[in-house]
């Protein structure tokens, strides 16, 4: 068995999963994967939804995505162990060493910072790559197209400025 799927197979399978999730025979809703984060923050820090309007607002989609996340962790783990054989503990990605630096402290600090603003950004926009880009653009939503355009441009500009890409293949 091959250890990776080509991009076109991934696109077709992801499309099938989106349609199943949207369908009334499936979940009759879009796929999303950023609402679960504040939902879990509410659980971990024991915040009562009665006191926080945002937790009340996201209770239904947060719990739905929470269950989906548990499935995703399970599916990702099983696939990484048995199919892609990529399971290993690591602290710093190979390309970070090539294009940024060799410092584990630098990678961990930047990861923490990026994770922090990523969730604030996703919640301000009301979605992420899954909710806006995949599910939203599939519905041809104007909101998703604005978000997708802003993210694409910012992503590539940040990639140019943050990493040392010149003179390296």
């Amino acid at each position: 068995m091959s250890n990776r799927l080509p991009w076109w197979m991934g696109g077709i399978l992801m499309s099938g999963l989106l349609l199943l999730t949207f369908s009334i025979f499936g979940a009759d809703r879009p796929i999303g994967s950023s609402t679960y984060v504040p939902y879990f923050a509410g659980i971990i820090f024991d915040l009562n939804p009665e006191n926080y309007s945002y937790l009340k607002h996201i209770e239904a989609s947060g719990s739905w995505e929470g269950i989906m996340l548990l499935g995703a962790l399970f599916g990702g783990f099983i696939t990484s162990v048995f199919i892609t054989k990529s399971f290993r503990f690591s602290l710093i990605p190979t390309a970070w060493k090539t294009y940024k630096n060799n410092s584990i402290a630098s990678r961990l600090l930047w990861s923490f910072f990026a994770g922090f603003i990523m969730i604030i950004g996703a919640r301000l926009a009301g979605g992420c790559t899954s909710g806006h880009f995949m599910s939203g653009m599939s519905q041809m939503a104007i909101s998703a197209m604005i978000f997708g355009g802003v993210v694409m441009v910012t992503l590539v500009v940040t990639g140019r400025l943050f990493y040392n890409v010149k003179g390296k293949k």
């Binding site: 250890n3 991009w7 696109g11 399978l13 992801m14 989106l18 949207f22 369908s23 499936g26 994967s33 950023s34 679960y36 504040p38 659980i43 971990i44 024991d46 915040l47 009562n48 239904a60 719990s63 739905w64 989906m68 995703a72 399970f74 599916g75 990702g76 696939t79 990484s80 199919i83 054989k85 990529s86 290993r88 690591s90 990605p93 294009y99 990861s111 990026a114 994770g115 922090f116 603003i117 990523m118 969730i119 604030i120 950004g121 996703a122 979605g127 992420c128 790559t129 519905q139 041809m140 939503a141 104007i142 909101s143 978000f147 802003v150 993210v151 910012t154 992503l155 590539v156 943050f162």
Partner: protein, 222 residues
């Protein structure tokens, strides 16, 4: 007195109770059974892991324009789904769940999201799949994310909600071309699919993963 006892009990709910509450909430939602939602997650995680788009080299690689697997796969999924979903909805097999156009939120949020996606090399969907294959740096990013979620929750009413601004409604592209909805859908779906196909294929591999594979199955040696 009874009221006070009730409130205290509610406030001191344990984490186990909250997790049971999560399952119960899904049971009562009518958005698929708990088993189906879990299965959707398993397939989602499996596809992301099997196509390797959870790798730092794929998303940060795209930010550096050295890898295009993520946009090719995303655009293809969107192109195919947009056409199929439109006709599925017309046939009564699904319905629209369009997110509102909250302009300031979308732009400020999109900028923050784009910057962090380039630095972390993950998004909230691919991050957990990386953690599931042992990436500790992404786990640290997730801890940052949970704190971000906490800050957003705590200051939602006072700061973030006013920052997002007002909703301009829930528009979709076909609504902008009344009378030509079907044509708009077909043009959009086919164009996006063609974009996916015509984006030049670039790949940035991770030697640390490739080393574990037998030579004949290494994608960089084909």
């Amino acid at each position: 007195m009874a009221d006070i006892v009730f409130i205290n009990e509610h406030n001191s709910s344990s984490m186990a109770d909250r997790l049971i509450g999560m399952v119960e909430s899904v049971i009562h939602q009518e958005h698929g059974s708990v088993a189906l939602v879990f299965l959707i997650g398993v397939i989602f995680g499996g596809i992301i892991q099997y196509t390797r788009v959870d790798k730092f080299e794929k998303i940060a690689g795209f930010a550096m324009l050295k890898d295009t697997i993520v946009p090719k796969m995303l655009f293809l999924a969107v192109g195919l789904t947009s056409i199929a979903l439109y006709f599925m909805i017309e046939a009564g097999g699904a319905s629209y769940h369009v997110k509102p156009i909250i302009l300031q939120g979308l732009i400020i949020g999109g900028i923050l999201f784009g910057i962090s996606m380039a630095i972390l090399g993950k998004c909230p969907g691919t991050g957990p799949i990386s953690i599931a294959e042992g990436r500790i740096d992404v786990l640290v990013g997730a801890i940052g994310g949970v704190l971000g979620g906490l800050v957003f929750t705590l200051y939602y009413d006072d700061f973030f909600k006013p920052l997002m601004g007002e909703s301009l409604g829930k528009g979709t592209l076909p609504e902008l071309f009344p009378g030509y909805e079907h044509l708009t859908v077909l043009i959009f779906g086919i164009s996006v699919t063609l974009i996916a196909i015509f984006i030049p294929k670039l790949e940035l591999f991770d030697e640390a993963d490739l080393r574990k594979l037998p030579d004949e199955t290494r994608p960089d040696k084909k």
